[in-house]
Symmetry: C2
Subunit: 347 residues, 2 copies
């Protein structure tokens, strides 16, 4: 468990303008579409004849992350990854981000630099330019707001609303791992809270921990779909859980769905964690959020092409809206899907 209050440089010594200058001095713009970055009233972007895609997310301490077990660098990385993931889910290419951060006085300059190091690493990995933002103080917790901006050709844009009856339902990677990681971290936190001398036992769980703490946006899947000349009929990223997110597609597309429990990809570590916690791993894969995998539909005749894409699985198909949204279990029982996604308002 980490200590964010370690000795370091007091941010007040820099002031707001100084802090922004300090944090943004090494930013180099890479995209020709990034005409102007940090340092004016606004950034200037030029996608010429392409469409602009904009998405934003607000991450709050205590709601979306717990600093007790979230390394600051990972947090900065995750803040970018979850936003560019939304751009990929439009079948668009992220090009720019703006980042606003509110920090309380307990943060040192070094702590803020850690967050920014994660942000910059993610910007490099996803090839996006950091073009603007805001840095301010907070009376309470840490707060990070990211807006991601990307471009797409009109004919490539993929909405939640385009799924058609008989389309195949596909998902990248595997599901439930981020939630399994969260369960593990929460368990170890409870143990630590009860006895601070106990060291957390996280060995053998590297994969699910990384899925929770440093999720990946599926840039690779976006690229492979392009290479394979597949424009999905609909797409969403799995942030609330497979059930919730598939139901978003069905709702917007006015269709139903049938997915098969045995086809839902689940990692071995997720299985293991579910077993340790005496829970059903399908609960993790259906309702655990924050996987940031791409969930999409393609026409039936793309079956061969989509099967060839590494790390993509077909898990079911689209049905008439009147048929509803169903999971077929291993025992061949049909269960209606429930939107039990991770819901920070209901808690």
């Amino acid at each position: 468990m980490q200590d964010n209050k370690a000795k370091g440089t007091d941010i007040a010594t820099l002031g707001e303008f100084g802090l922004i200058k300090h944090l943004t001095k090494n930013i180099k713009l890479k995209h020709s579409s990034s005409n102007l970055g940090v340092g004016d009233d606004a950034a200037v972007i030029d996608y010429q004849n392409k469409k602009t895609v904009v998405t934003t997310d607000l991450l709050l301490e205590g709601i979306h992350f717990d600093l007790m077990y979230t390394p600051l660098k990972h947090l900065g990385y995750k803040a970018i990854a979850v936003n560019v993931s939304d751009v990929y889910a439009m079948n668009a290419c992220p090009k720019q981000v703006t980042v606003s951060i509110a920090i309380s006085k307990r943060f040192t300059l070094e702590a803020v630099e850690e967050i920014y190091a994660g942000i910059q690493l993610a910007c490099e990995n996803y090839e996006v330019d950091l073009v603007g933002g805001d840095t301010t103080s907070s009376l309470t917790g840490l707060c990070i707001s990211v807006t991601a901006i990307g471009e797409a050709d009109e004919k490539e844009l993929t909405y939640r609303s385009g799924a058609k009856v008989n389309d195949l339902i596909c998902v990248s990677g595997n599901l439930g791992a981020a939630y399994a990681g969260l369960q593990l971290l929460e368990r170890e936190k409870r143990i630590y809270d009860n006895n601070p001398n106990m060291q957390p036992d996280l060995t053998g769980h590297d994969y699910i921990l990384e899925r929770q703490l440093k999720p990946k946006a599926r840039k690779d899947i976006y690229e492979r779909l392009k290479e394979a000349n597949i424009v999905p009929t609909s797409m969403i990223d799995v942030s609330d859980g497979l059930s919730s997110d598939l139901m978003h597609i069905c709702d917007k597309s006015v269709v139903g769905c049938q997915i098969y429990e045995e086809k839902i990809p689940v990692d071995f570590e997720t299985h293991k964690m579910a077993e340790e916690l005496n829970m059903n791993y399908s609960t993790f894969s259906l309702n655990g959020g924050e996987d940031y995998e791409l969930l999409f539909t393609v026409p039936l005749d793309k079956f061969d092409a989509v099967e060839k894409i590494e790390d993509v699985k077909v898990i079911g198909h689209i049905t008439e809206a009147s048929k509803g949204n169903y999971l077929v279990t291993r025992d061949n029982v049909e269960i209606e899907l429930q939107a039990q996604g991770w819901n920070p308002i209901k808690e």
Copy 2:
């Protein structure tokens, strides 16, 4: 003084998706450039052959606003106004906004609707489409993050960096009023804190209160400059205070400046408030932030044209960088400008 904890509908009854649906159900997109609004992974925008301008601001309870005296509707309005103001300061036209809000449990549905009512009113006034956002819960205070997106022709974009020696320094409206309003509200809050039976005495101060609580972005000035065929050589909106913001222009343009105290426009109510508080009103107009007036420079030969624009004053001129940044007082004394802007990090 208001009570945000009044009885009302518990937000948990709606859940996150329900709340977002409820709040966004009446949103109608007006701009042809708003291809897709709320309801997918991202919004889609198309400015065709124009440049895209993006700016973002994060507003936090206790730092940027005090709910003790800030009506929620005004707060929603202000959150939009301060962001579109940044777009105007680029000499660009705001077209879309995204709004993310984090709310604590003490807020009822009706309270959130009040914030959104202010947001929608501002969206109507500034003719911008609300195209996306995020609604989440907060363990502590209210937090609003807005991103404004606008368009401009390349040749009309106005940066902080374009001021030239001998350019005229112009400002719209008047300065220091928002800060005077803040001083008044803070004084009345202290009185109320000491004795809750005392009613706040805000009569006769309507103007400075409105400047603080419901600031205007200067859409009209942006439009008048366009009508007059004036493209400023540099522009910024006065959010940190005249001194700070003019110094941003001088810094980015590598020039100096000379402004004249007697030419800085100050409203009568600001004068009166400064007098009541035994303060120099020039402190308000030089260092008080949040006026959201436009501060810009134009070439000397635009003097006649700029003088004709209602509510714009010439307050000085740009000098060589080596001359520094100076205020000439009423007594003809030259005082070097200081960046004493409103600084939420230093506090």
